[in-house]
Amino acid sequence: MEPLLSSTAFFSSLLGDDHKLQSGIPQWIRDYRRGDLDFLATARLPSFKDEEWLYTPLSPLWRQPLKLVDRLDGVLPDQFKKYFIEDAVNILIYNGRIAGDITLPDQSFTGVSIEKGDAAFKRLEASREYFSTLTPNDSPLFGRLNRVLFSDPLVISVGRAVTSPGLINIVNIITSPDAAVFPRIMIKVNEGASLNVVQSYLSIPDIAYLDLPVTDIVLDAGARLDYGERHLHSTAGTHIGAVRVWQKKDSTLRSCILSTGAGIFRSNVNVILEGQGASAEINGLHSLQGEAHADSHTYLEHVAPNTTSNQLYKCVLEGESHSVFHGRVFVHREAQQTNSYQLNKNLLLSRECRVDTKPQLEIKADDVKCTHGATIGQMDEDQLFYLQTRAVSRDEAVRMLVRGFMDDVLSRVQNPLVREALTQE
């Protein structure tokens, strides 16, 4: 039997004093928190026996004493300035807290509202049905941890039929060692509206921390979201993030997650295609070096007929890095004419790296086209040889081929603003 979460240093440092958790939080959220705290107090630690955590050992996390950051302190180091994008709405989440006021620069953001503080809590209350949901395929532990510990929500919404051509750039930065941060973001795109959002997760090198964000995305009928995430974590950091998406009729999601891994890196993407004709494209690209680790879990649930999902996850591994891909597609009986494609490709560049991949299909409807594939391989010697015969040095040839391997994912980011933000530098 696994030990209790409540017996760990992790628990006592974060949840030991529950008065602190309740200050400034509306009553209706406190009601959820009471249940969550009861759950956490008796929860067992997930281990390799737990299918969801089979390949990602969490034991270092539980030993780690962490601290909640109460106040914003210090000035933002210069090195992060370059992640702010001109002409975009830049929102800084600094050590888990939203810093400064948010200004919407020009008319390209009319109809867009971005709220924090009390206004954001009110918005969350209006979308309680989503807020109250716990991620279905994840170990419920982390969803509840975020719900108990978040304090500074951010809600972005776009009015009906508003096409916002600009970019919303959310920059999460952690500079405080041993910080535990719990960003909570909700993006609501109303009927027929469209929006572009990019999130960057950054930290100063080599510090340990826990980054546990939850991003909820609701796409109403005919809505479209172009979404990107870029992760440049510290090698000692832990990121366990969830992106949860609910898609109504004919809505479109285009998403791409890039990372260089972390000490423990876990990205959960859950998409529920609950309206007819909804389509989701979920792509990911990890480039891992040293002892970096990256674990991508995707869960695509086709509830309504005529829904489409497309997934391409690629990973380049060097050093002693470790990549995990666990992709699950679930097609309900009613979801006829579903098309679902999933592909996971891994390129191994060193001897010591390790890949675990688990693509899964669970299908209850008969009129569907679903495929998944996974490949693991090395650099093609023939291709390297060919390039060398053209007077390209071996190192350069390797770089070119790796670039080609990765470009496959990047070229799928259709929105130029999102692509530029993700690939900058």
């Binding site: 688990k358 209850k364 409807a365 009129d367 090395q378």
Partner: protein, 483 residues
């Protein structure tokens, strides 16, 4: 599609074949339940040497501390292990029906459709075959020829007595009794099964089959098969048959172990068509089997081919441990489920040696209200330089109340590995059926043609006569299931 029609047709196969004709007259039957005494009784009845009893008891004690696993993608009712009779003396001849006329006509029709010869029909349906016919059976003829070559092929209980050194060396070497709940249970109480040893450099001249083995009228409930191919040997082994098999035991927990030494090759083919219960899922066999082969030597090869078309629940993963350098593992499977059947099947390929290769081709077809899952693992250990795997898992759904699932697990610990996995799920395309119909085929024929094409890669690895029967078997099972 018309589901009702399908169910009607299905009952031709899975329907009511009668079990009533075995009278319980044996005086030599152990009481129900399992205890150390029962294990000792089985061992003494079988006249086993001490090491075997020791091993059985160790397995039994280990089993007592284990919990029944429930992780598979299905639920089944509780099994009462104290309500099973673990030993009964071999059935007397003459208890069965006296002629084919007494056998359920539906079963006879099925035999005819499959094109099974009359003599075999009798054997399969338990009709007492007259002694004259039996004595000239193919079985005896083969037996003589095998002995000449030094091949040992006999019931495992006989092997324990006659070749204890071989049995002691290899039993449990691939599936140790600690392996899993059902393997432990099997190790403690197995009473039947085959033992096969091919001496170095011998290529077994015939396809060995439980058919040919005299004294093996029935497969036991806890069957144990051990096949050893010594250096440079080759054997092709067939298990089961396409005809629906009669059996009164609900739980089948068999263990099959294969060992291939240097340059040896074992080809193991199974066609399984146990009673699958009625259309509402009542009754039927629980087929919980542990099958594993070890490519222990260099350049060895183990190839599994299975056609799973029966049993209420099938839960098995024929696997290969690729330990020797350059060894090869193959898995070809067609799993068909209809009515309320559940199948959770697949394979594990564990690459340990250098330059090891494995191929997985799995085809799942589900219809009616059945559930079909592929579950597999490809594990490439850090020691397995240049390992290569190719996996393909295709599923076909017929009807809207069934499900098809794919759960592959891939663990790669060596960068020189190359592996590819792909899976598809779809239904029979209406375009293809329309095209074939426009060429004058009726709908049933068209579907059968498409299904055959879907399964071709697997069928072509089966021995010829098996392959023909397997095709017919699928056609018959899917009669009336218009996609």
């Amino acid at each position: 599609m018309s589901e009702d029609k399908n169910i009607l047709n299905g009952s031709q196969l899975t329907g009511d074949y009668k079990y009533g004709f075995y009278a319980e007259v044996d005086s030599d039957t152990a009481p129900k339940g399992l205890s150390e005494d029962i294990v000792r009784l089985i061992s003494s009845k079988k006249g086993e040497p001490a090491f075997m009893l020791e091993w059985r008891l160790k397995a039994f004690r280990y089993w007592q501390g284990m919990k029944e696993p429930h992780w598979a993608n299905f639920k089944y009712g509780p099994i009462n292990y104290q309500d099973i009779r673990y030993y009964s003396a071999p059935k007397l001849r003459g208890d069965g029906p006296k002629s084919l006329a007494e056998v359920d006509q539906e079963v006879v029709k099925t035999f005819e459709k499959l094109g099974i010869p009359i003599s075999e029909q009798k054997r399969l349906s338990g009709v007492a075959v007259d002694a004259v016919f039996d004595s000239v059976s193919v079985g005896t003829t083969h037996q003589v020829e095998l002995e000449k070559q030094g091949i040992i092929f006999c019931p495992i209980s006989e092997a324990v007595q006659k070749h204890p050194d071989l049995v002691m060396k290899y039993i449990g070497s691939v599936v140790p009794y600690q392996d899993n709940f059902f393997a432990a249970l099997n190790s403690a109480v197995f009473t039947d099964g085959s033992f096969c040893y091919i001496p170095p450099g011998v290529r077994c001249p015939v396809e060995l089959s439980t058919y040919f083995r005299i004294n093996a009228k029935e497969t036991g409930q806890f069957e144990r098969t051990l096949i050893v191919a010594d250096k440079g040997a080759f054997v092709s082994y067939l298990e089961g048959c396409t005809a629906p098999s009669r059996d009164e035991n609900q739980l089948h927990a068999a263990v099959v172990e294969l060992v291939a030494l240097d340059d040896a090759e074992i080809k193991y083919s199974t066609v399984q068509n146990w009673y699958a219960g009625d259309k509402n899922g009542l009754g039927g066999i629980y087929n919980f089997v542990t099958k594993r082969g070890k490519c222990a030597g260099r350049n060895s090869k183990i190839s599994w081919t299975q056609v799973e078309a029966g049993s209420a629940i099938t839960w098995k993963y024929p696997s290969c441990i690729l330990q020797g350098d350059n060894s090869v593992g193959e898995f070809y499977s067609v799993a068909l489920t209809n009515n309320m059947m559940l199948a959770d099947t697949g394979t594990k390929m564990i690459h340990i040696g250098k330059n090891t290769k494995s191929t997985i081709i799995s085809k799942g077809i589900s219809s009616d209200r059945s559930h079909n899952s592929y579950r597999g693992m490809v594990k490439i250990m850090p020691s397995a330089e240049n390992a290569r795997n190719f996996s393909q898992c295709d599923s076909m759904l017929i009807g809207n109340n069934c499900s098809a699932n794919t759960f592959p697990s891939i663990e790669i610990g060596n960068n020189s590995a190359t592996m590819e996995h792909e899976a598809t799920t779809s239904r029979i395309s209406a375009d293809q059926i329309f095209y074939l119909q426009s060429r004058g085929l009726d709908k049933e024929e068209a579907i059968s043609l498409v299904i055959n094409g879907f399964c071709k890669e697997v069928f072509k690895t089966l021995p010829l006569e098996f392959s023909v029967e397997a095709v017919k078997l699928l056609e018959m099972k899917l009669e009336g299931s218009v996609g």
